[in-house]
């Protein structure tokens, strides 16, 4: 790992100021994606701005018909949040499925969403529920946020403060976990909130998380696994690597979508 300077601001404003003064700086949340890539020298920020002392960035609360999760809320805490388990258990299952227990003890929702790893779990839930990403500057709809592998709509100096998820009546996540890394080989999040039906897929697409419009259309008649029987998606645009071919990933999207629907409608 190349060396860097280390900063621990206590307010979002200070953190933003540090970012503005250090154009090559990176924000440090849980660090369980960033530190490994720095060790590999795939990232070499001049400065790290640790957000762990910034006040007001943690916690899960219900605000009206939404669940709001602070950006620095750790996966382990979100997974067992009684508020979340009660209002939106399908979402609580997402942080519970990340990595391993020690990773969940450090990793955060803000870090995961800002990094937009094409195999990460949270992006599927954010897109699959039509969440809103709230930064120090503005609110960004999930549909506008993820702009490709490791790429988001976040601008320079922009910091995720919290993420607001509408409470869907039916929601579930199903994941085919890579046994060594814990990442999603494929993960599918499904939800139904009134007429808004969403099927979001992580792990499969070579461009990161995406929605399956053909599945969403088919689910408009009936939100059930049966509605997707026999349906597949084309393998074009799917990731292909030593772990799984594009065809296999495309196949898993259908299987996991049906399993997620079975769970959501159980």
């Amino acid at each position: 790992m190349y060396n860097f300077t280390f900063h621990r601001p206590t307010t979002v404003r200070q953190a933003a100021g540090l970012l503005a003064r250090n154009p090559e700086a990176k924000l440090l949340a849980g660090g369980h994606s960033l530190i490994p890539v720095m060790k590999q020298r795939l990232a070499q920020p001049s400065a790290l701005i640790d957000l762990s002392l910034v006040e007001g960035l943690t916690g899960v609360e219900q605000k009206g018909r939404s669940i709001v999760i602070g950006a620095m809320t750790r996966h382990a805490d979100a997974a067992i949040s009684p508020v979340l388990q009660q209002a939106l258990p399908g979402l609580a299952a997402v942080p519970a499925a990340v990595g391993d227990p020690q990773v969940r003890n450090r990793g955060t929702i803000g870090g995961s969403v800002a990094n937009n790893d094409p195999n990460a779990d949270y992006p599927a839930a954010v897109l699959g529920l039509g969440a809103t990403i709230i930064t120090n500057k503005r609110r960004i709809a999930a549909d506008d946020f993820f702009t490709g592998m490791f790429s988001t709509a976040l601008e320079d100096g922009e910091i995720i403060v919290k993420i607001s998820f509408p409470i869907a009546k039916k929601a579930a996540y199903e994941k085919f976990k890579h046994p060594a890394s814990g990442f999603a080989l494929v993960g599918v999040f499904v939800s139904k909130r009134g007429a808004d039906i969403r099927v979001a897929v992580t792990g499969a697409g070579s461009n990161g998380v995406f929605r399956v419009k053909s599945f969403e259309e088919a689910l408009k008649k009936r939100f059930a696994a049966k509605s997707l029987e026999g349906m597949t998606i084309p393998a074009t645009g799917m990731n292909s690597d030593i772990h799984a071919s594009a065809e296999y990933r495309a196949h898993l999207v259908g299987v996991l979508a049906r399993r997620a629907l079975a769970k959501a409608t159980a």
Partner: protein, 165 residues
């Protein structure tokens, strides 16, 4: 070089470190607490697990500076020198929960975190699921699982887990 101070196994410690110094390097190379191991250095194997403010973490994926002011517990902090072993350590000995021993410190620190989160009565399924982040290349896990169940039973009752709120 930046200075860092934290409490390690109940003792206040300070040191001058580079920003890129990992917690595990600080523990092993600065403090000479070599019970915490580095197996993979990629946050997979769990040999480096320590407790940061009471919560298990992989010390190869934390910077020492992130732990400024934190309370760290390592395997060396579980029992008094020459005193009786911690019940979890004793259970690993009783149940032959190790062969080469390389993964054992991380296994034991993770086991204590399982008790913190799931209580003293642990079934085999829970233990195996919760050992996801710890790799042992000798034992096939069988006796590790037995040891954790036994150690958990012999530990003082765990306080109930806390949520984010």
């Amino acid at each position: 070089m930046p200075a860092v101070s934290m409490t390690v196994n109940g003792k206040a410690v300070t040191g001058d470190v580079e920003a890129r110094t990992l917690l595990v390097q600080f523990l092993r190379e600065h403090l000479r607490l070599t019970g915490t191991h580095v197996g993979c250095d990629t946050s997979q194997c769990g040999a480096c697990v320590v407790h940061v403010d009471g919560i298990a973490a992989k010390s190869c994926t934390l910077l020492a500076l992130q732990c400024e002011g934190a309370k760290i517990t390592t395997i060396e902090g579980l029992a008094e020198p020459n005193g009786p072993l911690h019940p979890m350590q004793e259970a690993f000995r009783e149940n032959h929960g190790l062969q080469c021993g390389y993964c054992t410190p991380g296994m034991i620190m993770s086991a204590l975190d399982i008790v913190r989160r799931h209580g003293n009565e642990l079934d085999e399924h829970t233990i195996r699921e919760q050992l996801d982040g710890n790799i042992c290349r000798c034992t096939g896990y069988h006796n590790i699982v037995k040891a954790i169940a036994a150690g958990a039973k012999n530990m003082p009752k765990a306080s109930t887990r806390q949520a984010a709120e």
